[in-house]
């Protein structure tokens, strides 16, 4: 089956986020009352797996091996749904 999994990669707490700081400043310049912004990335992945837990495990492994760098990133994985048989 093809599962849709969302992996969210974000900076570890306490890590400096220049991109977030720039976004915060730009938002403040536009008149918003913003205290801070942290930027992260999401990967919405269609992955082949036997069941949801296998899909989740695979996505975690993808985060470990490619999508995140443990020095700076945390990641979180969530199975969103599935699509039935794959060819």
């Amino acid at each position: 089956m093809i599962f849709t999994v969302k992996a969210e990669v974000s900076l570890k707490r306490g890590h400096f986020d220049p991109e977030g700081d720039v976004a915060a400043k730009a938002l403040r310049d536009l008149g918003f009352g913003v205290a801070s912004v942290r930027v992260g990335k999401t990967y919405t992945i269609k992955v082949e797996a036997a069941d949801a837990s296998e899909a989740e495990a695979a996505a975690k492994e993808m985060c470990r091996r490619l999508l995140s760098n443990p020095t700076k990133d945390d990641f979180k994985v969530e199975v969103l749904g599935f699509e039935g048989r794959s060819g």
Binding site: F16, D17, P18, E19, L66, L67, N69, T71, K72
Partner: protein, 262 residues
């Protein structure tokens, strides 16, 4: 010298291969620019020097250098381990440095590679791409990459990157790098004092002003600045004279002297 040969690797998105080839050839070294696909099928061991050049490998998507770095691990790790263990030289410049870090070759582990990366080149603290000249203080003049540069000497070499803020996994590892003399260049003030994070002398906010590091054995080095863009004097108008040499040339001269002796 007759036998020595360098390989400048490339993948889609690499774009600084030509100027590195020019620099090496200028010093008489036979240099091939080789696509990763060919190297995976071919033989890396006929080379004494392997260079991972700058550019935007795979568009720098996901994370700068990550996709290429993981491909190195999955496709040519064993070959590269042997290459490194035999004392030959591997150099990563800019995107190439990012690749070496993402693959685990730098700072390195117990073997040639650590299982997971122990460092990262994160977004510049300015949150922007920075193309500018920097002052680099040589911290270790006895690696194969720096033997012609005395410790304390300041080189003028430009950077051009958006992700060059070097951070390591832990305080401990940083101390270890410093203690083992593996920080080869630091961003500095014109006087030669460390920049201590002061922008724009430290252009990206790197910890300890780190611009370049090497592995334990000293035969793998990664650096964010581009020595090939400061090879000729005319590349450095306003920083040196149009005649003669640029400061980056001395890094290449060190390399060549070393591999001639291999």
């Amino acid at each position: 010298m007759k036998r020595a040969r360098a390989c400048v690797l490339r993948v889609g998105g690499t774009n600084c291969d030509e100027e590195i080839k020019v620099a090496l050839e200028e010093l008489g070294l036979r240099t091939d620019v080789v696509h990763m696909d060919w190297l995976e099928k071919g033989d890396v061991h006929k080379y004494q020097l392997l260079v991972f050049p700058g550019g935007f490998s795979y568009g720098d998507y996901v994370r700068a250098g990550a996709v290429w770095g993981k491909r190195v691990v999955s496709k040519i790790r064993r070959d590269l381990e042997r290459f490194i263990e035999s004392g030959r030289l591997v150099m990563g410049i800019c995107n190439g440095f990012q690749v070496l870090v993402e693959s685990g070759a730098l700072p390195g582990g117990d073997g040639a590679f650590s299982e997971t990366p122990k460092a990262v080149l994160a977004n510049n603290s300015s949150a922007r791409y920075e193309c500018r000249w920097t002052y680099l203080r040589c911290e270790n003049g006895s690696t194969p990459f720096t033997s012609k540069i005395p410790v304390g000497e300041v080189l003028k070499i430009p950077v051009g990157h958006g992700e060059g803020r070097f951070i390591v996994e832990s305080e401990e590892l940083l101390r270890e790098l410093i203690k083992e003399n593996r920080v080869t260049f630091r961003y500095a003030l014109p006087s030669g004092k460390a920049a201590e994070g002061a922008y724009p002398f430290n252009p990206n906010g790197s910890e300890y002003d780190i611009a370049a590091i090497c592995n334990k054995e000293g035969n793998v080095m990664g650096m964010m600045p581009h020595p090939e863009r400061a090879f000729f004097g005319w590349q450095a108008v306003g920083y040196g004279g149009p005649e003669g040499a640029g400061d980056g040339r001395r890094i290449f001269e060190s390399i060549i002297e070393h591999i001639e002796g291999l």
